[in-house]
Point group: C2
Chain length 225, copies 2
């Protein structure tokens, strides 16, 4: 499904070169359930942005479904991001002037789904994260964990074949986290691929493969074959 070959992401900061990710090679198959773990600043979100086609590497090759992502034009990339991938951002990235419901309906517009069906799918997605009674709130009228759940609902509403979840439970209490992981486990049972970043061992234990990062490199991979 996914092949990363000698992937690097570097930032030039004045005279200093920051190697956010450096020479990472990795293979990910369909229906894997992967957790990236590692210290703050070790490169996990950078990896997720590359995997999600939101950022291009400085060096190396990324093949997704046997296509070299670097050779795809913007409309082919938009297609992948909108049709195949669901992305939960570490800082949520909700539209500030749209309600919870509008935020969750948004990814369905690209798929050409008519208004009433978009609304029904979004209501169902919000109910799955226990937020049906907050659908008319703007993001700044929601608690931190509620915003996180809107971001989760938005990523799940398209039933994506690849879910990328960056710290999906960082602002959630343990009971709410249990409910969210139940959704992820179900998606995985349905055949989808899940790649998440987490710093919590309980959450990582839902995965069947843990990849630990350190200083932009892979330190160890529990299922390196």
């Amino acid at each position: 499904l996914i092949e990363l070959e000698q992937i690097s992401k570097h930032y030039q900061m004045g005279s200093q070169l920051v190697k956010a990710v450096h020479n990472v090679s990795l293979t990910i198959h369909h229906n894997e359930y992967i957790a990236f773990i590692g210290a703050s600043g070790s490169g996990k979100s950078t990896m997720m942005n590359i995997l999600g086609c939101l950022d291009s590497p400085t060096n190396g090759h990324y093949r997704l479904n046997d296509q070299n992502v670097a050779t795809l034009d913007e409309s082919a990339l938009a297609d992948i991001r909108n049709r195949e991938i669901g992305f939960i951002f570490q800082s949520f990235n909700l539209l500030p002037r749209a309600t919870a419901l509008q935020n969750v309906m948004q990814p369905l517009i690209y798929l050409g789904i008519p208004f009433n069906e978009r609304k029904n799918l979004a209501i169902e997605a919000l109910a799955n994260v226990q937020l049906e009674d907050r659908s008319d709130h703007l993001p700044n009228e929601l608690s931190g964990g509620q915003r996180q759940r809107v971001a989760i609902a938005r990523a799940l509403v398209t039933k994506p074949s690849i879910l990328l979840a960056d710290e999906p439970t960082g602002n959630l209490d343990s009971q709410t986290s249990v409910e969210i992981m139940r959704l992820f486990d179900q998606l995985h049972k349905d055949g989808q691929t899940i790649i998440m970043v987490t710093h919590e061992d309980d959450i990582a234990s839902h995965s069947n493969r843990q990849i630990k990062m350190k200083d932009g490199n892979i330190l160890r991979d529990s299922s390196a074959i």
Copy 2:
């Protein structure tokens, strides 16, 4: 130090009244080390905003150091917020066009501290959260956990007598969290008052009093006297 009497915070959403906090009464003494726990949406951040004089209650009375906060004018409030309180926001609230160093220097301006001393104090605060080599990065050039640590350093740089920390380790791995809690514990040893919100039991266990919230109310208080 702090007395809350029948505090409520309500929001009118069309025809519906959202009771974020409802009829909460509470006494907090000097040098207490308190953890607010509870489900997502239970009112913890709302409580913190009221305690930090960032938001005024719909009903009830808040006495801080024997002063009724509602009777204070804006300059007296600014004085309290800047001189007495350090606030770590659940969503960090960093200045987006200022570097990590500038963000941490900022609270010292109000205290009339000259530039060179502000810079030295801020460098020391960033070193205490292991970010001295990121001082020139803007917030969008930092990882999630690095932004959280800049927010922590900014709150601690004034050595506040009351630290309000809303989910201070939500984006941090366990090792980094240990280092942050060491800073909090030291501040508490130095005689300061610490009030934090957390959904992680390991973090809550550093406190000597846990207050659990549910639906805007206090469900239980481990040191209710």
